[in-house]
């Protein structure tokens, strides 16, 4: 029987945000004993829908000394591909959020698919962007720039200060992608503040958007002047909404 590779987006965290298609695929995988793989957060989400689904842990990829993240993600992609199309297994790769946002392994797999002509199935999931926009009033009339906060803080990315900007992975404090210790977040908040200060005045309002965490995963936000951005730590996986200079109310904090 030919193998298949399905990449499944589970949404940000709450089971209610999981698509009907995603739930159907999880149940099918359980019924047909697919080979299912995922990181800790994704495993927890899948268990809430299919408690008996056996999901193998990919967490080891984050603990390998001497293996940088790009190499780990590339290896993960090749491994999923091999299991599906060289060993003819039904493989399900679980991804939190949307598979199409900031997931190097998924992009690698999609490129392998394009090069080989071998199709994959991609089940979309709700992305973190929906939850961020839940906390700000944004019309889209001035556009929206989307960057990793790291890019602005450390990679010299220049913003268009006239348009609003959404910076994700706020608080990520190593180039390897470490963000799981909130105490480390200040290491990037100060450089980010300084980089943004080359575009915006100190009193420019910015909105930190974050999750309340388990079990409710409510979207929460705090609006502060840019100058105070590094005065506190931020929770893991926070985001920063920065209104543009043209329409500062485009992106005001939602009540």
């Amino acid at each position: 029987m030919p193998g298949t590779l399905c990449i499944l987006g589970l949404g940000p965290a709450r089971p209610e945000h999981m698509t009907v298609e995603a739930r159907d695929v999880l149940r099918q995988a359980e019924a047909e004993s697919w080979h299912v793989y995922g990181l800790a957060h994704a495993r927890g989400m899948a268990r809430r829908v299919c408690p008996e689904l056996a999901v193998k842990s990919l967490d080891y990829l984050y603990t390998l000394q001497g293996v940088d993240r790009p190499a780990a993600y590339a290896d993960l992609a090749k491994m999923m591909w091999r299991k599906a199309y060289e060993e003819d297994r039904k493989v399900l790769y679980l991804v939190a959020g949307s598979p199409l946002f900031y997931n190097d392994a998924v992009l690698f797999i999609r490129r392998l698919s394009a090069q080989s002509g071998q199709s994959i199935r991609l089940v979309h999931g709700m992305s973190f962007v929906d939850l961020v926009l839940d906390r700000v009033h944004w019309t889209g009339h001035d556009g929206l720039q989307l960057y990793s906060a790291w890019n602005v803080a450390f990679d010299g990315v220049r913003l268009n200060a006239q348009a609003p900007t959404l910076l994700c992975q706020l608080g990520e404090f190593t180039a390897g992608g470490d963000a799981l210790d909130p105490d480390g977040s200040r290491k990037m908040l100060a450089p980010l503040r300084d980089a943004l200060a080359t575009h915006f005045p100190p009193e420019h309002p910015v909105t930190i958007v974050y999750s309340s965490g388990a079990p409710d995963y409510d979207s929460l936000s705090t609006r502060i002047p840019l100058s105070t951005l590094a005065e506190r730590t931020v929770p893991v996986y926070s985001n920063l909404f920065v209104p543009g200079l043209v329409s500062p109310n485009e992106g005001e904090e939602a009540p």
């Binding site: 080979h35 793989y37 193998k56 842990s57 990919l58 080891y60 990829l61 390998l64 000394q65 001497g66 293996v67 190499a71 780990a72 290896d75 491994m79 091999r82 299991k83 060289e86 060993e87 297994r89």
Partner: protein, 268 residues
């Protein structure tokens, strides 16, 4: 015989004195890795001695995972003092496994992991160290994910094939159960002042540390050295214990509460 080695006559008459002597010699020679390993062994003689007999019975009867962790630590301690320990018996047929040279893992990765994913391979015994390259680490990571007994085999060798869930020694025991408050308190553990923690000695930084040590399934607990003086004088009454530790009445009460919480004190 492993069980006899940790029985009271040999434990008190030979093993602990031997370890204490080795520890003193290692510290005098500033041989910090040896000192750290020996101190860890000395501390671990308490939980090992209190559990090894039951562990032997459970291992030989049902290949109990916790028992494998305990017996393996017992064997390590025996080896440390120059005694060749008996091999552990294998109480059940071994599940499918393979041997592989460490430097052959990367090339064999796909085949080994495919067998493991099919349920046809529980673990791989490496005949030589796995190289510390990125490719080898990624291959070992996948093998550990797919082969259910791989980690246990790497920790405990062939017996690990029969006990995939055997924990690392450091995760074998939890805290001792808390004591019960009461008008008359008794001491529920041994206690000693030793020249530090294993981590301190590894860093070449010896300094007196108190240890609470249970002869049973409980993790030893390091405490401030005055707490040991407190416990040593407690049989003379609370006031004498406070005096020995240099504590006032209120602080002495706090120490008693904490020792009850740790399970070192309890209603007699």
């Amino acid at each position: 015989m492993i069980v006899d080695f940790f029985a009271p006559p040999h434990l008190h008459g030979r093993l602990r004195p031997t370890l204490q002597h080795r520890l003193d010699v290692a510290i005098d020679a500033s041989d910090w890795p040896e000192a750290a390993d020996t101190l860890a062994a000395l501390i671990d003689t308490w939980p090992v001695a209190g559990t090894v007999e039951t562990a032997w019975a459970r291992w030989t009867a049902e290949a109990d995972p916790l028992a494998l962790s305990i017996l393996s630590r017992a064997r390590e301690i025996m080896t440390l003092v120059g005694v060749a320990p008996q091999a552990l018996p294998l109480p059940a047929p071994l599940p499918p496994h393979q041997t592989c040279k460490g430097d052959a893992l990367v090339a064999a990765r796909a085949a080994l992991c495919a067998q493991a994913a099919d349920g046809a391979l529980s673990g791989v015994l490496f005949e030589s160290p796995v190289p510390e390259t990125a490719a080898a680490r990624l291959a070992l990571g996948e093998l550990r994910m797919e082969a259910p007994a791989q980690l246990a085999v790497e920790r405990y060798g062939v017996p690990g094939l029969l006990a995939p869930d055997a924990p690392a020694w450091e995760q074998t025991f939890g805290a001792a159960p808390p004591g019960r408050p009461g008008p008359t308190l008794g001491i529920r553990c041994d206690f000693a002042t030793l020249p530090g923690t294993p981590a301190q000695l590894r860093n070449g930084d010896p300094s007196p540390v108190g240890w609470l040590l249970w002869t049973g399934p409980a993790e030893p607990v390091p405490v401030a050295a005055p707490v040991i003086r407190f416990l040593g004088a407690l049989h003379e009454g609370l006031q004498a214990a406070n005096q020995a530790a240099g504590l006032d009445l209120e602080r002495g009460r706090e120490v008693v509460d904490e020792l009850i919480r740790l399970g070192a004190l309890g209603a007699a």
